[in-house]
Symmetry: C2
Subunit: 622 residues, 2 copies
């Protein structure tokens, strides 16, 4: 490390020197060195998100895009795009502490859970062997346990002789009852044998891998109870903001680095959860994952290339289960890593888990479930039938492609309204750093109501504003980089001392995203020949869906006007459904039935959707 | 390697320099460096088998045991026990090329085999996906194949997207139909998917792991035909001649080194078989093993400690199957390594395979199966019932504990008789190097017949020989190391120029071994209340069983006199049964039924056996 070809990187309290041999940009170096950086455009120098600040060394002349997207003050202060910055000897750069604090996507689940998990522990006192009872160790256990399984995984078998003798033939069995239904344990799969009684050490982790956020729930498998939850921004953001960019990255560089990123992140999150609950990761026996189909492919190291192009074919959407060690998940060495089943390339296990959480398949009334994340997944139906589709909302709701857009991080403007003056709140009540999805929706709804935005999506220049626009709003209507814009936060109230705007282009992005969701909803309703009035419950799920203001969503036409009064926020439905699947094998089996049962409608080839999309381009209540 | 703390080791054409840092004896160094040396006593300096010759350097003063067991000529020539020899800088030692050539234990199997293997390949043309048929790759295969399996092993799944697209959705499936019975493939387990039609590349290897010899059969899985066979002495001999010594070694040093030795040897044998048949190991999809229970434990890395002490408890005797990669077996990376089921700690899968090969369970007539190796395993029964026992014959029949005893290697005296003169044959017609089991039996039978050995086992001194002893025999009656002995090969006909004797002590060893087998047979007959005359066939199996002269066995009383005329040599029955199990899933299932069906009789706690053992100590026809 004494070579001069190294640079120093700081992120939060972390500082490290890294060699930049064979690396062309600071972004590449950050990715190689395990730093988390947002790079929604995949490093092409266009999105302006992978910001770093050069503390020592020559930041060089800014590029055209850097000049366009960064103020002179920031450029002078050394801020640059990591993807456009060439590392040089002894340079020092600072990376924003990106995943330090996230909006608490994942709340603890308070509602009572079924306590009938597939994975169980059973204590057993074996009869010691003798010259008249020479049954082998394994056969002794199988006979005593009435376990219909023929074997044990090899590593457990290699330890078995010592295990059974350690506590004088008192053992605890780890059993997977997935396929059984009885009180006893026939058709169980024996996964491990532990010496003595280890039943008090028995935990699971449910993990919702969102494209933007990863949430992990620590579940007490004895009491069917979530005791803690922890979420982080998905570190795969460094490979792109959306699944398609990440798939492209994997096609160029292989699936392994992307898989390693999510596995490493999950291991870190499990370490956080276990440490702060005074447990060891060895006391965790199951890591059950639900994510969209691409996230699940990355988790298991499956090649997602087929999902990236029409006709959007995954390797599998089946429920999978592997020894956790095979995936590099650091829990008990005999533990399992499982994945819930999905429906199609763009309607994944997270949606199946959300359906479970909504309990919409338990009722004869028709429900509509909308999970708005980077993609919008929509499910319509009841206990008889279910229809689903996925619509490319784009990452606008997650803050990408929005001039001052950010994810749900500290300082993000997350609500906005007109209380005399236009005013909003930020996450953590911190100085504003940007606008997240729910804030943007509120701002747009307010601007629509006050007439600053027309139904066509045009953001009016100050000189064209109708007289009806209240003057506190009118005063914020300005221009930014030569186009009409609305000043969301004045310079003096922001962290960087520069005003935050919603631009005309931002409104266009919102319009496309809104149209995609709304058209998806109307296509499903039309296919099922169900009027919106016949839908009893509209469930909102997902990172953005849970935090958006339903009135704003109705105001801009993201949700159909007819749904007013029947909107219910589920929170992180995917996470909840995954926890439910961990604590109940009936629910886990139900996931497989749902995955097989849902009829998937491919919107990319649907003429009805194309028509609806154009129709829904108009803002306002539809 | 320029350090002076190295010695040079030669074995056959192989020569290598090795550091002896931290090593106390040349035997340890040989074991560490992967040289094969016999060390039946486990390196305690008592058996005199781990011979090396010091070519350069100081061989040092011979030990007491070396003086006792090695002639002055050999000592002067530099021959020493490797276990008693201290390595010194620049020493050069020569190790006998021990496993160069072995008696061909394993003959090709000519009899027609069932062609209905559990492991099959099936070619399939999949419908390419489209926007109206978006089934995932795996589900597309499962649906088309009517395969009742939910998944693929992870490594195969990770390659699946590329595999199905490589040959335009034409694929070959690798299926394990173990549990199915139909013509089609329900209840099959899908192990791998290969691009295009790969059905012509489909081989299996059946491996009989004997304590002394390992035999591997190359099987054409398409045509159910063995095309080649290859055998080597088991390299675990370096850890001891018998299973108990090897178990002790594993208890001190862990199972891993012993496992690594057999896995490495099997990989080498598969490499020999594939190379000389112009195949790649990647074209082999199954390595199916049958060995005694200890050998199978070592193969799978299971702890055999429980087998070594009363009540002789194995980890498992069940049929096991693992991805070959998990055991380090180098065949196709999606291939399987399997083990046939066994019966008890001392009646293993090799006996189950031998029962299959004898077809004794297909008939209502009663058969007796005797597999004489290091242990003697005996099975009595018919299609209704089967009894089995194991008797500690000791390794005398394998050449251990016999003064001039050797395994079935080149130069071993393997037959002997009195044709006017006492005369014998050697394996490979080479200059004599020692006496193997079948030779020893012939010699003993001849000496009994001529009255040189009394029924009590006493080898008469020359001066006590009765007049009836023919003079060519009498002339060979001499003394060796002060005790009566019979000169088997005069000095001028041996490789080392020193005469080979059968000593009085050797006759005692033979007597113990013979008594153990004969008492086992009589205990089973008594338990089943079956007179020997009711036994229709007596099958001889195993390394020694197959090569011994039945008349000699009857003459010394190793086999009951009543069996005369109904003795049939099966050859390597364990190997044959393993090949039969590879080519027929019915036979494989039959192995499991046999393992469950056989009633095992523990002789160590049987008073009947103790009585019979003393009775059978007498030589001669019983």
């Amino acid at each position: 490390m004494s070579s001069t070809k190294t640079i120093t990187i700081r992120q939060g309290t972390r500082e490290a020197r890294h060699s930049f041999e064979g690396v062309h940009t600071v972004l590449e170096l950050l990715q190689r060195s395990g730093f988390t950086v947002a790079a929604p455009c995949g490093g092409s120098g266009t999105c302006g998100k992978c910001l770093v600040r050069v503390i020592r060394g020559d930041a060089g002349e800014p590029s055209t895009m850097e000049r366009r997207l960064l103020s002179e003050g920031r450029l002078a202060g050394g801020t640059r795009f990591a993807c456009s910055l060439t590392p040089e000897a002894n340079m020092e750069v600072e990376v924003p502490d990106w995943h330090g604090k996230t909006e608490n996507k994942a709340a603890l689940i308070a509602s009572p859970l079924d306590n009938d998990p597939a994975l169980v522990k059973r204590v057993m006192q074996l009869a010691p062997p003798s010259i008249t009872d020479q049954r082998p160790d394994l056969e002794r256990i199988l006979a005593a346990g009435k376990v219909e399984t023929s074997s044990l995984p090899l590593p457990a078998l290699q330890e078995l002789a010592a295990t059974v003798r350690q506590e004088e033939y008192s053992v605890t069995l780890l059993l997977d009852r997935k396929k059984g239904r009885d009180e006893e344990w026939p058709a169980s799969r024996l996964l491990a044998v532990e010496p003595g009684d280890t039943t008090d050490r028995f935990w699971g982790v449910a993990i919702d891998i969102g494209t933007t956020t990863v949430a992990a729930y620590l579940v007490d498998l004895n009491r069917a109870h979530t005791v803690d939850v922890y979420s982080e921004l998905n570190r795969q953001a460094e490979f792109g903001a959306d699944v398609v960019t990440r798939i492209s990255y994997a096609q160029k560089n292989g699936v392994k680095p992307v898989q390693a990123t999510i596995i490493g992140q999950i291991n870190g999150m499990i370490a956080v959860l276990t440490e702060r609950n005074k447990l060891s990761p060895a006391e965790v026996y199951l890591a059950l994952v639900a994510g969209n189909t691409t996230m699940q492919h990355f988790f298991a190291g499956l090649d997602p290339a087929g999902i990236g192009v029409s006709p959007f074919i995954p390797v599998t959407t089946g429920a999978l289960s592997f020894p956790a060690e095979d995936l590099g998940i650091r829990i008990n060495r005999h533990g399992l890593a499982g994945m819930l089943p999905g429906i199609s390339g763009y309607v994944g296990a997270d949606v199946v888990a959300a359906i479970v959480a909504s309990r919409m398949r338990e009722r004869s009334e028709i429900s509509l479930l909308i999970d708005i994340g980077t993609n919008g997944e929509i499910v319509l139906g009841n206990k008889e039938w279910l229809l689903a589709c996925s619509t490319a909302a784009g990452p606008a709701f997650e803050g990408a492609q929005i001039r001052f857009g950010v994810g749900g991080i500290e300082g993000a403007v997350n609500t906005f309204g007109l209380n005399g003056n236009p005013t909003g709140t930020t996450i953590g009540s911190a100085a504003a750093t940007g606008i997240c999805g729910s804030g943007m929706l509120d701002i747009a709804a307010m601007l629509l109501k006050t007439g600053v935005i027309e139904a066509t999506g045009r953001l009016l220049p100050a000189e064209e504003l109708p007289d009806s626009v209240p003057s506190p709003v009118r005063e914020r209507c300005a221009t930014f980089e030569g186009s009409p814009a609305f000043m969301v936060v004045p310079a003096e109230e922001t962290r960087d001392g520069e005003a935050i705007y919603l631009t005309e282009q931002d409104v266009r992005e919102l319009q496309l995203a809104k149209a995609a969701i709304a058209a998806g909803v109307s296509t499903l309703l039309e296919d099922a020949q169900v009027p919106i009035e016949a839908v009893t419950s509209v469930y909102l799920a997902g990172g953005f869906g849970s935090y958006m203001n339903a009135e704003s969503a109705l105001a801009v036409g993201l949700l159909p006007a007819g749904a007013a009064g029947r909107i219910e926020v589920l929170g992180n439905a995917a996470g909840i459904g995954t926890v439910m699947s961990i604590t109940s094998r009936t629910v886990a089996q139900e996931c497989t039935r749902i995955a097989e049962h849902v009829r998937y409608i491919e919107l990319s080839s649907s003429p009805a959707f194309q028509l609806a999309y154009i129709e829904q381009m108009t803002f306002g209540e539809v």
